[in-house]
């Protein structure tokens, strides 16, 4: 990194413990069904499972064949079948069909359903309704947390976002609380818990209940503080284009469970290649948090260094050569391989992103964030829709426009939506309905057209009264008012200064210096103030539910107090992770990010599409 980290950064606790725990429990559960068995795995559990136990481990515990759950009749001939699934009604219904089909065919088998991370009553109700409750045994695999990296843990529950924020279904709250409880019992006791958002508050309460019910052991804390934050506190950040390397890779190639599949255009062969992206990859580790504009320079520097290392061979005698081969060469080769991979990935990104379009897209985003030349932005979006550049991108820009402007003017609202429907079909009526429900794409209410009213009123009366009136108006606003927040928290740095992306000043570097992510800014402010005092205005604009609770008394000013667990309920982006890493380096903290899933603009919006029910 261009900027040096503080020396006194605390050490992160060893999260691989979570993997070991999960593996041991899974093995125990598999052993509960002795003998050979076929294992059916829910498709989105495949990758997480692979991080916990590979095929040979499963085979060791008498798993014969592995299948993906495909909601089709099964072909297995084994007389014992084990299903490893998420507690989803559709999947349970499919299992019922399988069992009933076997029954009809007079086939006798033993079935075991392992729900992960927990089972729901509704699932059992379905089993009962379909008359197979007595034919299957059920178990729970408490696999709550998958460490993706040394500072990222994922619950791998992408549906959390839609279920909780759109459908108002709170069943995952307990899951999140249990995950937090697991971390608390392994790395706690936590001495401070901060949070904002309704779901965070509920998660906190549910977790407290679990703590009170269980036994408490006095232990040496490894994680001191916790920050819980709802995704709907900040929709702006995930709606912006990511320009930090890791985020870009995710936007373009989609990182799945810490692993990315580079297609032929990157591998320069005819095969795709799966690559793990984490801190083990030394090259990646150094560029993941860098603004993309720096990545190339860094990589070429790296390539030169590598060449120098190779060049050392010249003029070596036999003995030196021997040590070189045995000690350094392998590392160099590995680094070389990774380096060439990331260089081609960057090239591929460059091809896509340095085009005129992308520059204009970024410019539009920045204008929206700054609240500048909104008309031009609207025309840009309109053209974007008309030319059918991308279904999701257009939707993203629409939402960004609405959220930053606190809704669209009725005329724009109608015409943009109509054009979108013409482009992508009338079924998106449902998508719009979802977006409206979440407040992502709304029409300005007469009382909410703050900027308009403000300017009008401002002309009529003197400045002081106008200020008061502004306050009065903003209290009328129901949802977050981005402009006010932005002013209050100084989210958009002054554009007249040149921002050197090589030497970032603040977290804004992750968006080319145009915007400090709101979520991370709130975290920074709360940690700095040790609570919410002085942020009353901000919390009111965000719509509250903030809390700060002092828990176990920290015995000493230990390192653990500077390790902060940030839990994003509803997903977080790689850009936010990068921003927090930057913040940690600046302030001497270490952040561990726990998220219900890694998200980005596409995942966020795809979760809200409703045309493929």
């Amino acid at each position: 990194m261009a900027h040096s980290a503080r020396r006194d950064s605390p050490e992160l606790p060893d999260l691989s413990l979570l993997k070991r725990l999960a593996r041991d429990q899974l093995i125990y559960l598999l052993e509960q069904l002795p003998g050979k068995k076929d294992l059916f795995i829910e498709s989105d559990l495949m990758s997480p499972l692979d991080r916990i136990a590979n095929v040979s481990t499963l085979k060791q515990h008498e798993v014969d064949k592995l299948y993906k759950v495909e909601h089709k009749p099964i072909v297995s001939i084994s007389d014992q079948i084990c299903f490893l699934i998420r507690p989803r009604i559709q999947t349970v219904k499919w299992i019922c069909d399988v069992v009933n089909a076997d029954k009809a065919a007079g086939k006798f088998r033993r079935y075991k359903i392992i729900f992960t991370p927990q089972k729901f009553y509704a699932c059992e109700a379905v089993l009962e309704e379909q008359g197979v409750f007595g034919d299957v045994t059920t178990d729970e695999w408490a696999f709550y947390l998958l460490p993706l990296d040394e500072d990222i843990i994922s619950l791998e529950l992408p549906e959390f976002f839609r279920d909780n924020f759109l459908a108002g279904d709170q069943r995952w709250v307990r899951t999140a609380a249990s995950a937090l409880h697991l971390l608390h019992s392994l790395f706690g006791p936590f001495s401070k818990v901060y949070g904002i958002g309704r779901c965070s508050k509920m998660t906190y309460e549910s977790w407290r209940e679990q703590v009170e019910q269980g036994e408490q052991k006095a232990r040496h804390a490894e994680i001191g503080n916790v920050f819980l934050i709802d995704r709907d506190v900040d929709f702006i950040t995930p709606l912006c284009s990511q320009v930090v390397y890791e985020g870009l890779v995710d936007d373009i190639f989609r990182i799945k469970c810490g692993c990315v599949e580079f297609g032929p255009e990157v591998t320069s062969s005819d095969k795709s290649l799966k690559v793990m992206l984490n801190s083990q990859d030394k090259v990646f580790n150094e560029i993941r948090n860098e603004h993309f504009s720096n990545v190339f320079g860094f990589l070429s520097q790296k390539a030169r260094n590598l060449q120098t290392a190779y060049d050392k061979r010249r003029g070596m005698d036999i003995q030196q050569m021997k040590t070189f081969v045995s000690e350094e060469l392998k590392g160099l080769k590995q680094e070389h391989r990774l380096l060439s991979l990331h260089i081609s990935a960057s090239e591929s990104i460059m091809k896509k992103k340095t085009k005129q379009d992308f520059q204009e897209l970024l410019k539009t985003e920045h204008c929206l964030l700054e609240g500048f030349e909104i008309r031009e932005c609207i025309s840009f979006i309109e053209e974007h829709i008309n030319r059918q550049v991308s279904m999701i991108e257009s939707l993203r820009l629409l939402c960004l426009l609405s959220v930053t402007e606190n809704g669209l003017l009725p005329k724009d609202f109608k015409s943009l939506k109509a054009q979108y429907l013409q482009s992508y079909g009338a079924d998106h009526l449902l998508t719009f309905s979802n977006l409206r429900q979440l407040g992502l794409l709304v029409e300005q209410q007469p009382g909410e057209t703050l900027t308009v009213m403000e300017s009008k009123v401002g002309k009529l009366v003197n400045d002081r009264t106008a200020g008061k009136l502004t306050d009065a108006f903003s209290s009328l606003a129901k949802k977050s008012h981005f402009r006010a927040l932005s002013r209050k928290l100084n989210l958009v740095p002054k554009s007249d200064e040149e921002y050197d992306l090589r030497v970032p000043r603040d977290m804004a570097y992750i968006f080319s210096g145009a915007y400090v992510p709101l979520s991370c800014k709130i975290i920074e402010q709360v940690l700095e103030r040790d609570g919410w005092t002085g942020l009353e205005e901000v919390t009111r604009l965000i719509n509250g539910h903030e809390f700060a609770v002092t828990g176990a008394d920290p015995k000493s000013k230990s390192d653990a107090q500077r390790i902060i667990l940030v839990m994003f309920l509803g997903g977080c982006t790689f850009s936010e992770v990068s921003a927090l890493r930057f913040l940690g380096k600046e302030k001497g903290y270490k952040f561990i990010v726990v998220t219900t899933a890694i998200t980005n603009s596409s995942r966020l919006l795809e979760a809200l599409l409703d045309n493929n029910v």
Partner: protein
């Protein structure tokens, strides 16, 4: 103190002592005569039924229950049939075996709990004798009937009656019998005339005690030891045979010189006994017979009852209660006259020390010289534990503590635990409590947990709490548990108002961890006090815990809101399912409407399982917007166009009701589009159905159906820009350049002409692209020229516009071969900059 050995009687190598436990509290008018008596081991309660066989209804016999110290617990007239036998279960429940084979179970306080029968045939043949026995499986009952048949129930909690095989030649009452538990099997040993039989499930085997003298005669009394390991047989000639209960080995055979059959015969042993003995009781005589042929005789003044214990025998008479036991070895070592055991010396040393005599030092020196001070302390502590008298205990503990001072690195654990234990034991031995437990009984079978349970059962709540606190038992297992029982008992007090009880419970229980108010409330509800139950439930902090009881009490609305409060969606769902089955649909929906969390949960479920219910839900709420969405969603599931259109029409109606003009209009347009697509599909087989407007137009254009595309453009008021882009792209892709040119001239392009240039280039036609360069607005000229690769044109345009940035852009595209051009541009730049 000095006379501690005064009540010791030698028996072989060992000594036996008889210690008085209590002066009995009770005052029995007729003593223990003519009564059925049952006293439970481990210092359990005593039950007494006077004249059990009296049948006249006018004077019913009285059933009395006392604590071991004779404090009356309850007393009530016996109203059921004649009782043959009384016995206590391991849980301190009283079992009353009636003549007709019915066994009635009462609790300690005389409330009837339940009953069971020992079989139908017994009603006829009647029970002659019965025995209650304890085994690892629980409490069992054995009876012998008038037809001389035995029936067993090994565990009364899990009743399985076993009728044992017939005993050959047995008529009427057997002369004596006993229940044995061997090899995980319960057997009956029965003496019939001269024969001895073992009855098990399937067979009746004659057995012969090894070494029993042939002239001994038939067996008239028998007794099995507490652990079922030993057996004692008394013959008609007064000989006592003792041996192992499996009849493999004889211990001894003693002539008691008593001709009469003893009234009672009980083993008196202790774990690791030196000299096990049998205690025989006649009307006026108590005889202790050891296996060494020695005997001890005690005269009896009063009719008494013997209770076999793990480590001795309790002798209950109408006036007092005594414990007869072998003196533990360690006590023997210390107190035996002229003992030189280390413990004895230490005790003596301490005694001298108290007297401030220097002899103390001599004794100590003696112990230390032998290097046995540690042993001495241990002996004293151990002996103290075995002593019953607090003064003796104290003397021994003080001696131990004294000796400890001269020791380094001596673990205090034993001393501390013994002190604690003695305090607890002394407290429960108190005659008001009346549980005469010994040190051996206490940890061996009676764990601390059981002791507290027994105190709770006897309603000694304050003492139980004191014990818990004193022994620092975690609240979960200790104080809280006691409080829970107390509260459950409290809610049954009928003389107090709901309000008073609720207040009292809350004041005592507070928020002790582990006490569940919902459990207490459940108890109150069981006792028929629903109002109290509700009051108590309010104190329950975890709302989830309140739900099951509320449901049981049919307070479903309240249950639902509590479930929601708990945040446990599974619980909410349980209540919702319950309500769905309990209520009619209207009420059910109304209830849900007031609980948004439950409602969204149910909606989620319906979406997947019961779409129709979902519609009903929206209907109920007049949620037209959602209804509209619902119809739109289901329209996509409909394969037939007519069905689909009908669904969409319903959606339009709902959107109109919801005053969502936009959605209504959009849906109407969708319907129009669908009809249009259908028509074209039918006419031309275009395969358009389901495409978006844009895609439809695209498809039409690529099929060359420009007229139809234009119709759509007009009908659906497609913005000019969109249409122009579309047409431009489509024509270029199909390389219809003439058409394109015509199109470009049809009117002024709303998207400008740069788009034309770029699209043509994209389709690799520079020639066509160039045609449009001239039409491009001045601002875009440079770009346009660059796009077609005309550097000179671009340069000219830039120079003309005197725009530095554009000149730069052109420059950056120049290669080395364009030297002339570059010079020209650079010059222009300089001039522009000057201005």
């Amino acid at each position: 103190m000095a006379f501690i050995t005064a009540n010791w009687n030698p028996l072989g190598d060992a000594f036996y002592r008889k210690t008085e436990l209590y002066e009995m509290f009770w005052s029995l008018r007729d003593g223990l005569r003519d009564s059925l008596i049952a006293a439970a081991p481990y210092g359990g309660p005593i039950a007494l039924l006077r004249e059990p066989l009296r049948r006249s209804p006018s004077t019913r016999p009285q059933l009395e229950i006392y604590s071991a110290s004779g404090v009356s617990i309850t007393s009530f007239p016996w109203k059921s049939g004649p009782v043959v036998y009384l016995g206590w279960s391991v849980n301190d429940e009283l079992l009353c075996v009636q003549e007709d084979g019915t066994v009635l179970i009462y609790d300690l306080f005389g409330s009837f709990k339940r009953h069971f029968s020992m079989g139908q045939e017994v009603v006829q043949s009647q029970v002659l004798e019965a025995k209650v026995f304890h085994s690892p499986y629980g409490t069992g009952v054995a009876i012998v009937t008038g037809s001389s048949r035995f029936t067993l129930a090994t565990n009364i909690e899990d009743l399985k009656l076993r009728r044992l095989p017939e005993v050959p030649g047995l008529q009427g009452r057997p002369s004596c019998w006993a229940v044995l538990t061997q090899d995980r099997q319960t057997k009956v040993l029965v003496s019939s005339g001269p024969e001895l039989y073992v009855l098990d499930n399937t067979s009746c085997t004659a057995v012969y005690p090894p070494g029993l003298s042939p002239q001994a005669g038939s067996i008239v009394h028998m007794s099995v030891s507490f652990s079922y390991k030993y057996l004692a047989l008394f013959t008609e000639t007064g000989r006592l045979w003792t041996g192992l209960s499996n009849l493999q080995e004889r211990l001894s055979e003693v002539d008691t010189k008593q001709a009469a059959t003893p009234r009672q015969m009980v083993w008196c042993r202790r774990p690791r006994s030196q000299q096990p003995s049998v205690v025989l009781m006649w009307d006026r005589l108590l005889l202790v017979v050891g296996s060494c042929n020695d005997t001890i005789q005690f005269p009896l003044e009063d009719q008494s009852v013997l209770v076999g214990e793990l480590d001795g025998v309790r002798i209950i008479s109408s006036s007092s209660q005594e414990l007869l036991q072998e003196v533990p070895l360690v006590c023997q070592d210390i107190f035996k006259i002229a003992s030189m055991a280390p413990g004895a010396l230490l005790l003596e040393a301490h005694r001298e020390y108290e007297k401030s005599s220097q002899k103390a030092d001599e004794y100590l020196r003696e112990i230390k010289e032998q290097n046995v001070l540690g042993d001495a302390v241990r002996q004293c502590v151990e002996a103290a534990a075995h002593e019953y008298d607090p003064d003796t205990q104290k003397a021994l503990m003080r001696a131990a503590s004294f000796g400890k001072c001269f020791l380094t690195e001596f673990s205090p654990d034993q001393f501390v635990t013994t002190c604690r234990e003695l305090r607890v034991l002394n407290a429960v031995r108190e005659s008001s409590v009346g549980m005469p437990l010994t040190h051996t009984q206490y940890p061996a079978l009676m764990t601390l947990q059981v002791l507290i349970d027994r105190l709770v059962y006897r309603q000694f709540y304050p003492l139980a709490i004191e014990v818990c606190r004193y022994l620092k038992i975690p609240d979960y297992q200790g104080v809280s548990r006691v409080l829970k029982h107390w509260a459950s008992c409290k809610v049954q007090q009928k003389d107090l108002t709901d309000e008073a009880i609720a207040r009292a419970v809350c004041a005592k229980v507070g928020d002790s961890p582990g006490v569940s108010y919902s459990d207490i409330a459940a108890k109150a509800y069981e006792c028929g006090r629903p109002e109290l139950a509700i009051k108590l439930l309010d104190f329950e902090a975890r709302s989830g815990q309140q739900v099951p009881l509320l449901l049981k009490m049919k307070r479903s609305q309240l249950a639902l809101s509590k479930a929601v409060e708990s945040g446990d969606t599974d619980l909410v769902y349980t209540v919702v399912t319950y309500l769905k089955n309990e209520m009619n649909r209207g009420d059910f929906f109304m209830t849900l409407r007031n609980q948004p969390v439950a409602l969204s949960l149910y909606r989620q479920f319906c979406k997947l399982q019961e779409p129709q219910t979902l519609k009903d839900l929206y209907n109920q709420d007049d949620d037209h917007q959602e209804l509209g969405n619902f119809y739109v969603t289901s329209s996509y599931r409909d394969k037939r166009l007519e069905g689909r259109l009908a669904q969409l029409q319903s959606a339009v109606d709902e959107y109109n009701k919801a005053k969502n003009d936009f959605a209504a209009k959009a849906t109407e347009e969708e319907m129009r589009l669908l009809r249009f697509q259908r028509k074209l599909d039918d006419e031309k087989g275009a395969g358009l159905l389901g495409l978006s407007l844009q895609a439809t137009m695209e498809a039409l254009m690529s099929l060359g159906l420009h007229k139809q595309a234009e119709q759509l453009y007009r009908d659906f008021r497609v913005p000019d820009k969109r249409y122009w882009w579309l047409k431009l792209k489509s024509l270029a892709e199909k390389e219809q350049w003439e058409e394109l040119e015509k199109f470009s001239k049809s009117k002024k392009s709303p998207i400008g002409y740069l788009a034309f240039v770029e699209v043509c280039m994209k389709n690799n036609n520079r020639h066509e692209a160039k045609k449009y360069v001239s039409k491009v607005t001045p601002e875009q000229k440079v770009k346009a020229h660059l796009a077609v690769g005309d550097l000179e044109g671009a340069a000219d345009a830039a120079i003309e516009r005197k725009n530095e940035a554009e000149m730069g852009a052109v420059l950056s595209r120049c290669s080395a071969s364009d030297r002339l051009l570059m010079d020209k541009l650079n010059r222009a730049r300089v001039t522009a900059a000057k201005k």
